[in-house]
Symmetry: C2
Subunit: 372 residues, 2 copies
């Protein structure tokens, strides 16, 4: 039911929409305001949000919870979004299909999970040697990225949004040192996505293991190495107890962008003010996650290095150069998949070129100057 | 009048608040919904927003306009914010006092403008060799910065928010080359704030000239150099026609944070949902400005270098090192001003130390790796 129809049906104008301020949970408030629960709860819109993270997983999972709380506050309780952890309503990797079909109205995950449905999706999550957080946000919101993302998801009845960012991730935890390209040969490493394909081309063996099983796999030597996120999440997983060497930089995920997807019909059926509330809350939440990761990563790195005596190492320059060259090949192959991937690739690489040039004299030059 | 009182007075519950969906501008919509304009416009809250920028000034001035539009949409017209350019209601640098006194309910500017009222304010705008945009946002939102900012503005009845960011600025436009520290001696440069104090300690002559007079001052040689913002704003001002050398990096303003200030009483008098709407819209707008600057700076640098053949130069390493050393002295002097400045300085520098360490192996390492 569209808002206007609803309003007309009740014949009391826009005011009707706000009665829903008193949802089920707010019955006490409503009682104080003299509104019966039954009448009040009538117009509350309930959305289900499916996520690809365990409920309240630090950073990735807490962001959708905060977003839902903000929407409830901003809408005066008229839009209630219930957040479901992975597997609660649908398995993690079925979130996309669930929102596309309308089983859930909204989802939180990362676009590279959906490369099987639309290969172009990968450009909206993480591209090896691609864009960092600031650049991803700028490309999406002011560089034409959003329009292409909309177009790519059109066939699925989904409207996508940037829904958080981890910043540059870490290259990962290794049980043995990486001194040369030779050391990548036969290396069994948990590294999904494009990064994994790059490793494979260099003779490594990328494997995909769910987060929950990572620690044991690494500790028992089932795998030789794993990437995960960054110091904050890695410390929480205790990975430093399973591998000695912590490598940087996260060449494969330089500014991993999380994603909110909304079923288009569900979005369009919201009154316009609630649409605006949802969109602005996503935008705010997008920045909030990066702010949190930046602060918590600072602290966690401190703990890892000073308390847990982690050996922090930079990947050798020739290894990084080779990873970069092979990454370009892998990304080019994705670009050649379809007209859509080609279009997204062109927009992305054009933006990346300008951005690299500008950031060399701004952000990069400042970082370098500060540490002279 | 508080929302609850208002609601009680009308005796019709939360629904009343939303009648205001039909503001004066929405009379057509309201007519369709069968609500008379007079009744409908009753509950619209009108706020005046004073800014320190000319009306619709690119980036800095367009951000508050977008913010006001978003608030109107999200509140279904219940909160109408009219944006006033500098000088329209009060002169630019009286925005702080106007919002403090309640003449206007909200303001947009930058905290370093208010150092005469509260020296600690400078830490919330730009600190030479301090934090970049990502770090400022993280310090403010997850590093204790916001609490200190609140405390610093408490006495003025103001609630401050991060309200945009320009990213790393440029060092500025120079009519002659800077080859050594000698070249700073006697240099007449428009560079306000802490950057100016640093220049002065190194024998330069900092002057303060309003933006509108910059081009002529530089072209006629009244000044030898000027900093302004970055490629996007600098290109629009045509500064490349008045000076030949464009220096980087913007050591003096590495992540200039803009500011929204709200009169505390006005904020508290809003219904809770409108408070949440205003706060989230500011947060979204904070990121939006950086996204825009990043994209437009990319493009503008391209134009400056390729079309206007601007000579892009990096300040010599020994000059940067000396600027850094003197900046530390100047910032330390600010810290010694009061208990408040000391507290903010301690929080800021502790965060900056951790952040420098973390970003050396993440953002900085990635930038360097990408350009190997």
């Amino acid at each position: 039911m569209k808002r206007r129809d609803f309003v007309t049906a009740l014949g009391i104008g826009a005011g009707a929409a706000a009665l829903s301020a008193c949802g089920k949970k707010e019955s006490e408030d409503c009682a104080q305001q003299g509104i019966g629960e039954q009448a009040a709860s009538k117009d509350v819109i309930h959305w289900k949000m499916v996520t690809t993270w365990p409920k309240n997983f630090p950073g990735l999972g807490t962001a959708p919870e905060r977003f839902a709380k903000n929407v409830a506050k901003m809408s005066n309780g008229r839009l209630q979004i219930k957040v479901h952890g992975a597997g609660e309503l649908v398995p993690a990797l079925e979130a996309f299909s669930a929102v596309s079909a309308g089983t859930a109205q909204i989802g939180h995950g990362a676009a590279y999970y959906w490369k099987g449905k639309e290969p172009a999706a990968q450009f909206f999550a993480a591209v090896p040697f691609g864009l960092n957080a600031q650049e991803m946000n700028s490309w999406i919101h002011y560089g034409g990225g959003q329009q292409l993302w909309d177009e790519a998801y059109e066939q699925f009845n989904l409207k996508p949004f940037a829904g958080g960012n981890t910043g540059v991730q870490m290259a990962g935890w290794f049980r043995k040192k990486i001194n040369s390209l030779e050391d990548l040969k036969g290396l069994k490493m948990r590294i999904p996505g494009l990064g994994g394909e790059v490793l494979k081309k260099l003779g490594g063996v990328p494997v995909n293991i769910p987060g929950g099983e990572l620690f044991t796999a690494l500790q028992t030597g089932t795998i030789d190495a794993t990437e995960w996120v960054g110091p904050y999440n890695d410390l929480a997983f205790g990975l430093y107890k399973a591998a000695k060497y912590y490598y940087y930089p996260g060449w494969h995920e330089p500014g991993t962008t999380l994603e909110v997807i909304i079923n288009k019909k569900a979005l369009q059926e919201l009154p316009e003010d609630l649409q605006a509330i949802v969109e602005q809350a996503i935008r705010a939440s997008n920045q909030d996650m990066l702010d949190e990761y930046t602060a918590r990563n600072n602290q966690a790195l401190n703990t890892l290095v000073n308390e847990h005596k982690v050996e922090l190492l930079k990947l050798p320059e020739d290894v990084l150069k080779q990873l970069h060259a092979v990454s370009n090949e892998v990304v080019q192959e994705v670009a050649n998949t379809s007209e859509m991937t080609k279009k997204v690739y062109d927009s992305f690489t054009k933006f990346a070129e300008q951005s690299r040039a500008y950031h060399m004299i701004s952000e990069q030059a400042f970082y370098e100057t500060r540490t002279l």
